[in-house]
């Protein structure tokens, strides 16, 4: 157990764990309260040498020949020792599958960032409306962004598709409006001639 003060980084005194009230840090004086869970009082998990040692009849780890295989990778099936097996969600993965899954965005739990193309398309469609003239560019750009990135996943937490539909509709409306205006002006000019 080693809770640290978020302000100064020094270890908090044990009385922080005894009650969830606010206490002043003994180093920086910052008032902090701590609500501790069982994991705080548990000794760190260790893997003993005996757990890793490979016997004559044991299968070996794909990455460490001298170590005993404890599990197999859920994706590629490689045998893994207790050190190499990483539990992600309900699956056990090997280091290679983790790296490739992260690169190819196959494992959602490993994703660290996403670009929200649906929001960008909507901003591109809505923002130029206030300046009117820029909508001549904004409309087609919104249509392009919506269609180009139509299948790209949106936010992990909100899964509504209305943004790209609205961006597409607004983009079509703006582009259609400009097309109609240009055709109308050309016709008026021709009639006046």
């Amino acid at each position: 157990m080693a809770l640290t003060c978020p302000e100064c980084g020094f270890e908090l005194k044990p009385y922080f764990l005894q009650s969830p009230d606010f206490h002043a840090c003994h180093v920086c004086g910052q008032e902090t309260s701590a609500l501790a869970f069982p994991a705080c009082f548990r000794p760190p998990e260790t893997i003993s040498e005996a757990e890793l040692r490979r016997g004559e009849d044991d299968a070996s780890c794909f990455y460490h020949e001298s170590k005993k295989a404890a599990q197999s990778c859920s994706q590629c099936g490689r045998f893994l020792c207790a050190l190499c097996a990483a539990q992600i969600g309900g699956d056990v993965l090997c280091p290679d599958c983790i790296v490739s899954g992260e690169k190819k965005h196959k494992i959602e739990r490993l994703e660290r960032a996403r670009t929200l193309y649906d929001s960008i398309a909507l901003i591109v469609a809505v923002a130029p409306v206030f300046t009117v003239w820029f909508s001549i560019l904004g409309g087609p750009a919104a249509i392009y962004l919506s269609l180009r990135y139509w299948k790209r996943p949106t936010s992990i937490v909100r899964r509504y598709a209305w943004r790209k539909w609205l961006a597409l509709a607004l983009g079509a409306l703006e582009t259609g409006g400009w097309a109609w205006l240009i055709v109308y002006l050309v016709m008026v000019r021709r009639q006046s001639q």
């Binding site: 302000e7 910052q30 309260s33 069982p38 994703e111 960032a113 670009t115 929001s119 936010s155």
Partner: protein
Amino acid sequence: MTTPAYKRLPGARRGVFTRASAWVAPDHILLVEGSRTSENYKRVYFRDIQALLVMKRQRVLIQAPWLLVPVALFFAVLSLPPAWRNAGWLLLGAALVASLLYLYIAAFFYSCRFYLATAVGNVYVQSVFRLWQARRFSSAIRPVIVAAQTESVPAPAPPGE
């Protein structure tokens, strides 16, 4: 790999350019930070959370550059045409009085910074920045964390074995 169903946790920060929120899945908390056009994710698994830390902060912290605002406004009023200057002084005075009143009232309240303490370090939760939000957040996730951590502990072997 199936996508976990996320449920929103109390607290959210919605700025003009930045935003932050926290979500709970069956086995982890997802912290979403970013802007209107991109999101960054941090996952903290229930089994790794050692404690919830709430750090009390003043609700309003005035940083030195903000003190230049009244000075700039003072010169802005001086640069007004003489006919408008009296109205300018009046507006500036009213704005200053309102700001001081707000700061005086705000000084009675506390704000906070919220962290999830793990064995590796404290993870800052940007979306929780008021004490009432911290209380709601804690009461929402406390039972699930306790349940997850008590489940993962193997039952002690009966004596004699």
